[in-house]
Symmetry: C3
């Protein structure tokens, strides 16, 4: 491609403190960093969603980024639009800080669920002080929690009301990703229908390239699928763990830093998008309650070594409940991009921290209180 | 809090080669590094355990750090006492190098277990050459192994004979952490009683803030809980994997480095506190023995991809034994902050290395020999 | 050993951008880096496989590196031969790029399997552009896939046709590693026989010290063991995930970088040795097929959070099949140095990406397409 030897990915990641230097090197990299060209396009402003020369060369419409939702790779994707503090999700009024309600929505008696969501870029307060230039589903991080049952029909439409291409990948769907999880450009929509086949705690996320950047910037959430016969009655909550990799603030807003994402050393790790939010505003249950926690590791990279201080899990479902839980568990690892269901019986009152017990990451905000009253 | 933009956590971690620079930045960070203020207090010497302005502002006794054992977070804890080469655990005669006996203590016929332990800071030889300024339970790393049975009563008292606050968190206890796992200041004690409900290999550790620092500095160990009906007769051993993140030596002693802990790149990884100790002094069993290994990943951050070279596990209990083991396993991942029980049948003689097969970390000392004679 | 304070391992890893500086520091390190002395020997050229002063002091033949296959550790191994761009696997014609066939070889009716393999160093195209100075079994990365059945007899001989010591460690063997997995010097051979006791997807690899380097340089592969009664009929494939840590190119070849391996930040992550190879040349099956994927995390360090976009696994065998699979799984973590069996039923046509869903690593090439036609 070029006479210069390509820089190594890790050189780019470790040597570049500034985003500009990072992207300068990345533009020579090609092979590993599918971000540079389109970013330049994005910065031009007059054609923010174009500039995919690879697509053009292949005879694809350069307006349609990643039209078949091929996840980004190190080798075949060279130019995609992304967002930065200078790009999308800035210059807007940030969404105020609020506690993200972890309560699982009640099961509906409807067997068909119609969802019409928007993808947008919007600044959000993830703490009272910290504002991030988030990419979102329905203007929140995580996006809304979907609840349905095995065999239900989910009719989903995503409309892109943002500035760059986005898409939707439901881990609970058995569906052709090439068609249904395809990226849509701003102003357009994609619709698909699926029937969840298995129960469990599933992740959803934007799969547009580079998927590391789209997940890392906030586009994920939970779809909880109930088994055909209900599980035992319980207080049910959703906890989506994710990581934040941020640039320094510009005009009070911190953008997402792709180079840092590749370093896998996050600035914050959070349950439900806001570091340590359930310290000040805990999750509350009553003595005697069975508590069911649907825990998802949204990543983009790290698993969650999930633990509740002062308790053990009566059961952890590694696969679809109600089949073969393991029992009497202090900690179990939820894979990156995976989900598991944790149950405990709250026999005694107290204030029980729930944590990612891999504390080098977990201490950056993946902690909250379960208060049993 | 300040007019300066807060540095990013990863900037602090990656950019600071010196601890002083790290703490200088950390003092501006507030949000992410709960270490700076109290360390200054610690260095004053005349009031080594005070200096919690946040506690004072909240009307709490500034002498009582972390009084309710709230685990450290990125957001609500700003000043805690910690230790360094210049602080605790230095200026004392180091404890000599010795092999840490991995044999599980025999089961007691007592149904009540009374434990009165001390928390202390003391330098320890983790190799014949390397001395670390450890924080300990009972002057050892790991602390003593507790063995009991489901339903037994454990009466535990921790007396702080060190210079900074400490606490005890047993993963086998169902108990209110706010009361029982609270931090105690030097000279004071905390007592609590619990009855383990599940069998297995459980971790214990100091949970005082910042918990990453207290675990990372040596305050962990194993509590093994037998099921009501004994498991098959076996030779039983305890292996607690942990990581060391160290400063350069000062007067021959290496302190623990909180910035490195956040980098998640350890200097050493060890079973039972001493890197590679069971190379020179292996674990020995006889041909025909069933060997049961209680493997705990104390972290503070990394799981253990546990493997025995030349063998497969007859069974691995992911949850409480004896329920539903998986069988015929080459390697399984023990979560950070978790424990699992591994069994193999030693049919043939030989010298079998046991390792963390994630060798980028494991090769730093998480290796030993199981010799079958 | 020396009056200079030993540098810390992480200092060496993070501060040294050049290999020379890295090794210069490493030579003072002793305790942590068993590579420097022998490398010097290797560079002398006239005695490329000698120089083990520790071995000499211990009365062992200095020609026989690691004679008992003791895996490298941080403490007892100080000098081993290794390879670099200047050493082994350079100056030869690189092996051309080709897709690595992931199809599991058919089961043989033979109950004895005789394998005579070579260990060699040889440059290989892992992409059309990237050539690495690989260390190999049978001149490929991964090495050939072995298929056998529980109770079969595998008669294996490894002949070292390379320049440095190598060995073979089959995770499916119950055998004394000290004898059978021992290192052999160039020109010599080692033979051993084993009978796999458990079914599953097992890793094999070179265990010569430093094992991190030998695995990291390409010496791994899969041995698939069928259960006594065949599993359900399926289209079967092998996916071996591994990481590449590379130096900048020299004469068009990139060598493996031990310092980077210790940093655990890979340049590429790949299934079957070639980053993203199954994007351009997918794995193809038919609608209605049951697909069985034998997934191995060769590492050297990272697990694989294995996921198929648009699908869920009908069953995942955490241990030996056919016992107790978990079902209805979106993602499960294959341990570093471990293997698991994933099954899905391809009810619908489409193009389904399979990925390591820990995208900070996975996006570096651990991705491919499963096309259902």
């Amino acid at each position: 491609m070029t006479d210069l030897p390509p820089p190594l990915l890790s050189d780019v990641v470790t040597a570049s403190s500034s985003r500009r230097a990072f992207l300068g090197k990345a533009s020579r990299l090609g092979i590993a960093l599918p971000i540079a060209g389109a970013l330049a396009g994005c910065q031009r402003g007059d054609e923010p969603n174009r500039g995919d020369t690879v697509a053009a060369q292949q005879g694809r419409d350069p307006l349609i980024q990643n039209p078949n939702s091929r996840l980004d790779t190190a080798h075949d994707v060279r130019a995609h639009t992304t967002s930065t503090a200078e790009g999308a999700a800035t210059g807007m009024q940030p969404i105020a800080y609020r506690r993200w309600d972890p309560v699982l929505p009640p099961a509906s008696s409807n067997r068909t669920h119609r969802l019409a969501w928007s993808a947008t870029e919007v600044p959000i307060h993830i703490t009272p002080e910290v504002v991030v230039a988030a990419w979102t589903f329905e203007s929140d991080v995580p996006g809304p929690t979907v609840r349905c049952r095995v065999g239900d029909t989910v009719e989903f439409t995503l409309t892109n009301r943002g500035k760059i291409p986005h898409s939707m990948d439901f881990h609970a769907a058995q569906i052709d990703p090439k068609a249904s999880f395809r990226s849509v450009v701003p102003g357009e929509s994609v619709s698909f229908t699926f029937q969840p086949k298995y129960a469990g705690a599933f992740k959803y996320h934007c799969g547009s390239a580079p998927v590391l950047m789209h997940i890392g910037s906030g586009m994920y959430g939970a779809i909880i699928v109930d088994p055909p016969a209900p599980l035992a009655s319980a207080k049910e909550f959703v906890l989506v763990q994710s990581e934040y990799y941020l640039t320094p603030p510009s005009s009070g807003v911190q953008a997402f830093d792709y180079g840092k994402m590749l370093s896998t050393m996050p600035d914050y790790v959070a349950f439900n998008g806001r570091p340590s939010q359930y310290i000040a505003e805990p999750i509350r249950v009553k003595v005697g309650d069975r508590v069911r926690l649907y825990v998802i590791s949204a990543g983009p990279t790290h698993p969650c070594h999930f633990h509740v201080v002062g308790e053990q899990f009566d059961r952890v479902y590694l696969g679809a409940p109600p089949e073969v839980p393991i029992r009497g568990v202090q900690t179990f690892t939820v894979p990156a991009g995976g989900g598991m269901v944790f149950e405990l019986v709250c026999d005694i009152p107290g204030e029980f921290p729930f944590v990612n017990h891999g504390f080098g990451h977990g201490q950056k905000g993946a902690i909250g209180f379960l208060v049993v009253e």
